[in-house]
C-alpha cells in the first residue's frame, strides 16, 4: 500500500497531469480574437493586489465587445478572469515570476487561461483538489467547503473560486500540471483553463436583462398608482 502511494507520488512529481477539458491552445488556431498578457505582481505589497482586478476588468471589457449586452458581460467575464488570476498569483512559487493570462474567443466559446509556476506543495494540493472535484457535484462541494471554512477563521484560501465558476457560470475546467526543474528545485508550470460557452452566457444575460426590464415596468406602474 505504502509502496503504491510512493510510486503514485513519484509519478506525480515527474509526469505531466491533465485534468478535465484542458486543450493545448497552440493547437487551436481558429480563434476570432486573442489577447494575452505577461506580468509580475509582488504580493508582499498588498496595494499591488488591486492590479488583479484592473487586469481582469481590462480583459473583460476587451472581450465584452463580442456580446450584445456588454455591461452585463463585463461583470461575468471580470468575475471569472479575476478568480483565475488571483489563484495564479497567490500560488506562484516566486513572487517575481511571470504570470501569463490569455483570453481567446472562438465561434461559440471563450477560453480563459492562466499559466504560473508553483512550488511542489501547491502543485500537490491542486492535484488532490482536482481529484476531489471529480468525485461530486460542484454545488455539493461548494457547500461542504463553506462549512469547512467556517471552522478555519484565519484561513488564507477560500477554495471556492473554481467551484463558484463551475456552479454559477457553467464554466468548464481544464488543468495541466507540468513538472520542471529550476536551479535544482522541483517546481511546476500550472495551466488553468476555464471554457465558457458564449451562447450560454448570452442566454444568461438576456434572462437577467429581461428580469431588470420587468422589474422596472412594475416599479413604474407602482409609482403611477401612488401618484
Amino acid at each position: 500500500m505504502g509502496e503504491a502511494r510512493n510510486t503514485a507520488y513519484l509519478n506525480f512529481m515527474l509526469e505531466q497531469s491533465v485534468f478535465g477539458s484542458y486543450q493545448d491552445l497552440t493547437e487551436l488556431d481558429n480563434f476570432a480574437s486573442n489577447i494575452s498578457i505577461d506580468f509580475v505582481i509582488p504580493l508582499e505589497l498588498i496595494s499591488h493586489w488591486r492590479r488583479c482586478g484592473l487586469i481582469a476588468d481590462f480583459m473583460a471589457n476587451y472581450e465584452a465587445l463580442n456580446f450584445k449586452n456588454k455591461e452585463l458581460a463585463v461583470s461575468i467575464l471580470s468575475t471569472t478572469i479575476n478568480e483565475l488570476l488571483e489563484n495564479a498569483i497567490k500560488f506562484s512559487s516566486d513572487k517575481n515570476k511571470l504570470v501569463n493570462l490569455s483570453v481567446r474567443s472562438y465561434t461559440n466559446q471563450l477560453i480563459i487561461e492562466t499559466v504560473n509556476t508553483t512550488a511542489e506543495k501547491h502543485a500537490k494540493k491542486l492535484h488532490n483538489y482536482l481529484e476531489l472535484i471529480q468525485t461530486d457535484s460542484a454545488e455539493n462541494l461548494f457547500f461542504k467547503q463553506i462549512e469547512e471554512n467556517a471552522c478555519k477563521p484565519h484561513t488564507t484560501c477560500s477554495e471556492l473560486g473554481l467551484l463558484t465558476l463551475i456552479k454559477d457560470y457553467q464554466a468548464v475546467l481544464g488543468v495541466k500540471i507540468q513538472p520542471k526543474e529550476i536551479d535544482d528545485q522541483q517546481t511546476y508550470d500550472v495551466f488553468v483553463q476555464i471554457t465558457l460557452n458564449t451562447k450560454e452566457i448570452e442566454n444568461q444575460l438576456n434572462i437577467i436583462d429581461a428580469t431588470i426590464k420587468t422589474s422596472r415596468k412594475k416599479t413604474k406602474v407602482k409609482n403611477c398608482r401612488s401618484i
Binding site: I146, T156, S158, D168
Partner: protein, 115 residues
C-alpha cells in the same frame, strides 16, 4: 462605524443595518475578517436581541470568492443564533443573482431581496 477605501466602503448605518458598496476583492478571507468585524459584531448583538439584521449590497458590483466565504460566515453566524439575516441586492448585478441567491441553502431564515 465606517470603513472607506478607494475601492469600497462599509457603513454600519444602525445596530441592525449596514451597507457595503463598490468593489470588494480582498486577497484572503482573513483580510475580510477585519473589514467585516463591525458587521459581524452588530449582527451577533442584533440576533441576541431578537432583531433582524439587514445588509444592503445594492451598490456592491463585485465580490470575489474570499468575500463569498466571508458572507457565508455571516450567514452561518445568523444560523447559529437562529436569527433572520437579510441581504438587499440587485437583479442587474450577475454575481448577486447567481452566487448570493444560492446561499439561501445555508440557512432557511436568510432572505435575499433582489430589486
Amino acid at each position: 462605524m465606517a470603513y472607506e477605501t478607494e475601492d469600497f466602503s462599509i457603513n454600519c448605518i444602525s445596530n441592525t443595518q449596514s451597507k457595503i458598496s463598490g468593489i470588494l476583492r480582498l486577497p484572503t478571507p482573513k483580510e475580510y475578517e477585519e473589514v467585516l468585524k463591525d458587521i459581524s459584531d452588530d449582527l451577533s448583538a442584533a440576533a441576541d436581541a431578537g432583531k433582524i439584521y439587514t445588509i444592503d449590497i445594492t451598490e456592491l458590483s463585485f465580490l470575489n470568492s474570499s468575500g463569498i466565504t466571508s458572507f457565508a460566515r455571516l450567514i452561518l453566524l445568523a444560523r447559529s443564533k437562529k436569527s433572520t439575516l437579510v441581504f438587499k441586492g440587485k437583479e442587474s448585478i450577475p454575481w448577486q443573482k447567481k452566487s448570493i441567491l444560492s446561499l439561501t441553502k445555508l440557512w432557511e431564515k436568510l432572505e435575499i431581496q433582489l430589486t
